[in-house]
């Protein structure tokens, strides 16, 4: 299972030059906004590092995160990640199935005890003993605890693993929780997004392999290099927001002119991600550029934040009934107060 050859040597065997690997390292370093010397160290470190054993666990998820990583428009980059790592277990990508697949996971855990990285996509159902998702007769909860027990670090990929995601949405029938609520004694990185940006996954894994430590993380344990700014901060439509020019519908004149989508429910101002800078499909576009507001998919509970098409400045509560009932009670109290005052006056005027 363990391979003593360096990544540089392995890639050379596949006909990928050292220069190409250095370029890739420099690209990732630039994406992560590393200082020049660190970007160079990343590139050099990648060439000299040994392949990192990775066990990829898929729980309550849609496989979109794996799709994002593997179906990228930049395969020469994203495929490289599978040369940087030894992907020892991944249900979607591995050839083995059934007992052989589980044996591969256990074998990798034994061979790389204390050194392997666990990547998780999908949330973990814990309601009713976690019976809502099982693999080979074991609940996701059991597999997660068993697999991470001797792991070097855990990377939660996608919003489901990072924050619970869609399975966690109200009413959360399976009791879905993020990985961070279960694994509290291991270094953990959240790379949120539905799906996450491929370069964010690749860059974070490369950083971990090269420097042997976690990158700088925000308070939600996300790499600051990719989640340090809001979509709004770097959005090309931001000048229209500042001018107060907003599209009123998805096909009006404002929308065609590229005005801000705030009124159409864009969550860019409260969403931290690198979509406007790294973009998708090889840097072609991102949702706002395609004409739709940001859904805020890399933030916790994005599914339950009052509707994708409700502007941020509106209330998420059910105001009608509450406010109406309060006004009715107010009117009743006012009438009662006035009646008491009249009664007292009448009593006083009668000299009682």
């Amino acid at each position: 299972m363990t391979d003593e050859r360096t990544i540089g040597e392995l890639l050379a065997q596949r006909g990928i030059s050292r220069r190409a690997l250095l370029k890739y390292g420099a690209y990732l370093g630039a994406l992560m906004a590393l200082p020049p010397w660190q970007a160079r160290a990343l590139a050099e470190g990648l060439a000299n590092a040994r392949r990192q054993s990775v066990i990829w666990l898929s729980f309550q998820e849609c496989t979109g995160c794996t799709e994002s990583l593997t179906r990228s428009f930049t395969p020469t980059i994203e495929h490289l990640i599978f040369d940087l790592i030894s992907l020892d277990y991944h249900e979607t990508l591995q050839a083995a199935s059934g007992f052989a697949a589980e044996a591969a996971r256990l074998s990798a855990m034994r061979a790389n005890a204390g050194k392997y990285v666990v990547v998780v996509d999908g949330s973990v159902p814990i309601k009713d003993g976690g019976v809502y998702a099982t693999i080979a007769g074991k609940t996701n909860l059991e597999i997660l605890r068993e697999t991470t027990a001797q792991a070097l670090a855990v990377i939660s990929v996608g919003t489901c693993a990072s924050f619970g995601g869609i399975p966690h949405a109200d009413p959360n029938p399976t009791g879905a929780v993020p990985v961070s609520e279960i694994i509290t004694d291991k270094p953990l990185i959240n790379i949120s997004g539905c799906p996450p940006i491929p370069e964010a996954m690749a860059g974070t894994i490369a950083y971990l392999i090269t420097f042997g430590k976690l990158p700088d993380l925000d308070e939600l344990k996300r790499p600051k290099s990719f989640f340090g700014e809001t979509i709004h901060d770097r959005c090309y439509r931001r000048p229209f927001y500042d001018k107060g020019l907003f599209a009123k519908s998805f096909d009006d004149e404002g929308a065609r002119r590229g005005w801000c989508l705030y009124e159409l429910g864009c969550k860019g101002p409260v969403t931290y991600n690198a979509c406007p800078t790294v973009k998708w499909n090889g840097g072609v576009s991102f949702p706002i550029q395609s004409g739709h507001g940001c859904l805020g998919c890399s933030e916790p509970n994005f599914w339950d934040k009052g509707g994708f098409y409700h502007p941020l400045s509106t209330s998420t509560g059910s105001l009608g009934k509450s406010v109406g009932a309060a006004a009715a009670i107010g009117i009743g109290t006012g009438v009662a107060a006035a009646m008491v005052a009249r009664h007292r006056r009448n009593k006083a005027s009668r000299g009682e």
Partner: protein
């Protein structure tokens, strides 16, 4: 639930409910209170009561000549502040969206830069009003907690809103949450403090006008 979720959800719902309850309670109870009959005879030539009410309100929009000089700063500053508040509240796109969510009505917004400028002027006006309250011996003597707190809950939404629009001082989600919470505080205090003058000023000045009109006072 994070701070912004709390501010957009339970906080705003509670604040608007308290606001609706308080305003309804105060207006209805005042309206239904027993009215004291005016013992003074209705003067000959007195106009209908509603004209008296309108005249009473209009007459008090500007001070009489003998008082104009002394009251000029207060009067002008008051107009600057109130018009500023109205422009900021009704002119910013985000506020219009909020109101549309409540009442289903919308209108074109003003440029954000203009609103920010008006907000700065309004803050200056509020600061001047506070400075005058603190430095004028008579005004300071008659000022109570109600005055200072009403000033504070008016100042905070403008200040926090300006910071939120400008993205200054903290991440935008935090700024927006703090702004919405400050608005919630204003809404909760509104019916029980001096901010209720927004509604009662029409009643009090109108009633004064009616009384004057009945007694033959020419406004």
């Amino acid at each position: 639930m994070d701070l912004l979720d709390f501010a957009r959800g339970p906080a705003l719902t509670t604040a608007l409910s308290v606001f609706a309850f308080g305003v309804a309670w105060r207006l209805v109870s005042l309206w239904l209170l027993p009215w004291a009959r005016d013992p003074s005879a209705r003067r000959e030539g007195a106009r209908p009561a509603w004209i008296g009410a309108v005249r009473g309100f209009a007459r008090h929009l500007w001070p009489r000549k003998p008082f104009a000089r002394a009251a000029m700063v207060t009067t002008v500053n008051g107009y600057v502040m109130h018009f500023g508040l109205a422009i900021v509240f009704f002119g910013l796109a985000q506020h219009i969206l909020f109101l549309r969510g409540l009442f289903g009505l919308a209108w074109p917004n003003l440029p954000s830069g203009l609103i920010s400028g008006v907000a700065v002027v309004t803050l200056g006006s509020l600061a001047l009003a506070l400075a005058r309250r603190l430095t004028d011996p008579v005004l300071r003597l008659i000022s109570t907690f109600n005055d200072y707190f009403s000033w504070l809950v008016t100042f905070l939404p403008i200040a926090t809103g300006l910071l939120a629009v400008s993205h200054l001082g903290a991440p935008y989600p935090t700024l927006l949450a703090v702004h919405l919470l400050s608005v919630s505080l204003l809404l909760i205090w509104f019916p029980f403090g001096k901010l209720m003058h927004s509604f009662l000023i029409f009643v009090t000045r109108g009633e004064t006008g009616i009384t004057y009109n009945r007694r033959g006072v020419v406004l």
